[in-house]
Amino acid sequence: MIELRRDSLVFSFPEVHPQAQLSVNFQRTLRIPDDGQEYPLPPGLGTFPLVHVDDFGKTVPSGWLEHGGVLLPMYQSEALWILFHSSYVDERGQYPFAVQVAAGKINAVTGETWSAGLERRPQNYVVAPQQPWLDGYCVRKGQIRQFVAMPLGAGYSAEEQISGKAEYGGLQISVFPMKAEEFKRRFPRWAKRRESVDSCLMLSEAADKSMGLAPGGLMKQEIFEDRFAFEDWDTTHSRCFVHIANSLVWRSITGANPPTPPPTSKEYTKYGYPWFDYYDDDSVPLPGADVLAQLQSVAELGKKKGDVPLPENESVSPSNVKVIRPRKSKEQVREGVF
């Protein structure tokens, strides 16, 4: 079951475990420069608003109604990251979930087209809470390319580069809880948290209104290998289509204003605001997907097309980089102050 609560998608599985609940939201952020350099993690600047597609049935493209799900607004060339927060179960710890994330039905971890089930080799999902967030496509070990919104049909999205079609856009998320008996076995009451964790181009009708996520600048981020047994995951799952509307289209669909555009990386860095670096020494990073590594970034592709798709793409040198480590506190804080 999925609910929309305060701009978060809340996945719950009462049939598996009464407290198994994963909250997923979409964070506004800086677009890091797409200049071939590797950048640290940009901040979260608040969540994107989310609404039910069904609430705007008269104004959204009919294809969106068919997909169901929710809708969020992004400016062209704006970036986004996905925050995962799994519920605490009394005296045991955070409930684990396997989460598949795709953009335009291209899996962000493997680059493969969407498949409904979990796969281990190659691993086509991330594990929460071990993976606190996901900022982009996993291009190689310890490196991602940032999710950057581009109009579907313009040829920049990973979906168009890989499948040759501008069909879906948006984000697709599917969540699988750990089996309850495995959770109880691996996370016994009063267990020390460390031990418990360680054991383990054809345009569709909607194309002119939809945004797809394209690979932007390079960022240092590890996508971690699943530490649990593959059989630990329940086959019960819930999935959601997250449509991305161009901000102007959002206004015409919902009548509401989209959030103000985020600052540029240059402005943000100039004021000395923090960037972030996340270390998890106990986790093993996935190698990244060749098909994703071969994608052309928005800036590279724009250059070939003789286009300038990313305004204000100047390189920056973040000096204020705060290090975050897992399990220091209940909440991972990665917030900007802009």
Partner: protein, 119 residues
Amino acid sequence: MNDNGFGDYIRQRREELRTKDSDFSLRKVASAIDVEPSYLSKIERGDLPPPSEKAILALAKALSEDPDVLLALAGKVSTDLQQIIRKRPKLFAELIRELKDMPDHAVLRVVREVRDGNW
């Protein structure tokens, strides 16, 4: 609650307020809701049935009471609620029956699922 639940409740509430403020005399409240004092008096005593929805809403306002509660005491359902139900009678009838025995906190949190479609 006896048969004159509505009249008793109104009189009790009005008298309570009158002890602190003379604006809540029978005459003044009747005038505020645009009825004759004798008519309001008969309603309070149960000699006459509860008044129209319009008068009940005016009374609720005058006495700072919840309009839906007063309407329910009078055995009525507000017109706007009736319209909502009439628009989708099967759905709302089913929903209300479903919620009938639920505790208040559960009713207050009616879950709306995000709908999945074909993709």
